[in-house]
Symmetry: C2
Subunit: 254 residues, 2 copies
DNA sequence: CAAAAACAAGAGCAGTGCTCACATTTGGCA
DNA sequence: TGCCAAATGTGAGCACTGCTCTTGTTTTTG
């Protein structure tokens, strides 16, 4: 990644160019510190030092430590979203299982590569900081948005088995109807609820691994276990059973 | 809660009695601060202030901030374990689904009641702090231990439907065999893997709710959604809800 | 070219974890 | 019972943090 500005408009005053460059450097150095020290230990002063500035100067660019966190949050969401999109790109639209698996693997891979940023996005909220919804909800919903697309496609294609029992409480049904309207999905309540479950379960599995809940040295290669989990997840949402993954989409064994 | 020591041995010198009392106060105040400020903002100085001591005096009792965190971690694990045990207590041993549901509900309820402690246990690791395994693994495995008990009981009772496909990689199978040996379980690989999935999925659901990933005001009563998730979880692990699902390998209709 | 805006520097405030020298209180033992 | 040592509390101090404010410099702009 070259840091001198592909994408920097050339018709800017030198000062303005320097400003966007400094902003980029701040985010870059912030990400480095995030990766090495963690979110709670992220220090504006240290970023300023690495930038060759005095601590107060960095406040010309970033209003507060929380604002820097917000920058890093949207940066992280974007990167995760890009990773998932890239993994989805070569897949056929009707390969529903393959798409779910790809989303899961890409999410896990990115989380393991950027554990600190993952923790910032999906871990404990950092105390005293609340991500401003207007900036973070957009990029923050890209992954679940992709999942929803798969559910919808699979539902339209009749590739989801679902029991007919209408045992969703009316109260929840109303909420789900609102969601359905917002994201434009036609699948029924049960499927939306299952999709949300799959979403939460996926991040539970990834979090356990990233946050070390399984304990160190418990599994020789945690990927094996994750693949089992993904199979269970695919099955749980009503897509073609994990066992048939082998014959169907050609389960890429690695 | 009376803070004068039920359980404090009476045959102690006044000084020793005062010491255990001070230790208790430190943990209590630490938990309060944890709840209000969060783990990363937990300050030994503030604890000392609330205790009426000068900051350095508290180091006579707790070697460092990390050690206080460890105290709070085992305290939290113990409380969660007690909550789960209490929820399990009135249930019949052969009510497998009921026990799983009880574990899930108790976990969620405790997490929502003590979000900061939950975050300390299951959220992002706090930077620079590593929980010492010798003190935390014991109480930290109580909940999953209860889940394992249910799987095992259900398996012994033939109440778990499982497809026979032996598609667990050998490498993973070795790891699972070791776990099986450690915790004394006879259920096959697939079930152990599914159990781990259910564990991770449960904490994914709880984390999403506690950490606010669903967004505010998305659901009128998140409990409804959680119940759906628990149902999906029970189904995912192959447990039978009631007497219905006796058909092996058949798509579980419920 | 001068006014205005942007930028950088440095001092300062209140807070943090933690250490150390010092004073006081307490407990076990001769 | 007296005494010495251990346990406990104090306050100063170091290096760090986020953040504000004043001062001086540089660049853009009217």
């Amino acid at each position: 990644m070259v840091d001198t500005s592909p994408g920097t408009p050339a018709n800017l005053s030198p000062r303005a160019r320097a400003r966007v460059q400094t902003m980029r450097d701040i985010v870059r150095i912030g990400r480095e510190h995030l990766a090495t020290e963690g979110a709670a230990a992220l220090s504006l002063r240290a970023v300023a030092r690495d930038l060759g500035l005095v601590s107060s100067a960095v406040y010309r660019y970033v209003a507060s430590r929380d604002e820097l966190l917000t920058l890093l949050v949207v940066d992280g969401y974007d990167e995760l979203g890009d990773a998932v999109d890239a993994a989805l790109e070569p897949l056929d639209r009707d390969d529903h299982v393959g798409r779910v698996v790809a989303i899961a693997r890409a999410t896990r891979a990115w989380a393991l590569a950027e554990p600190a940023t993952y923790a910032l996005l999906f871990g404990s909220p950092v105390p005293g900081y609340e991500a401003p919804a207007e900036q973070t909800t957009g990029p923050g919903t890209r992954v679940v948005g992709r999942l929803v697309e798969v559910w919808e496609d699979a539902w339209q294609a009749g590739a989801i088995s679902l029991d007919e029992a209408p045992l969703v409480p009316r109260r929840l049904s109303r909420d789900l109807a609102r969601i359905r309207k917002q994201v434009g999905i036609t699948a029924p309540d049960r499927l939306v609820a299952r999709g949300l479950f799959a979403w939460a379960a996926l991040f539970g599995c990834v979090s356990f691994e990233v946050f070390g809940q399984y304990g160190a040295n418990t599994f020789g290669d945690p990927r094996d276990l994750f693949e089992q989990h993904v199979a269970a997840l695919v099955e749980a949402v009503g897509l073609e059973a994990g066992a048939r993954l082998v014959t169907r989409g050609g389960r890429p064994s690695r």
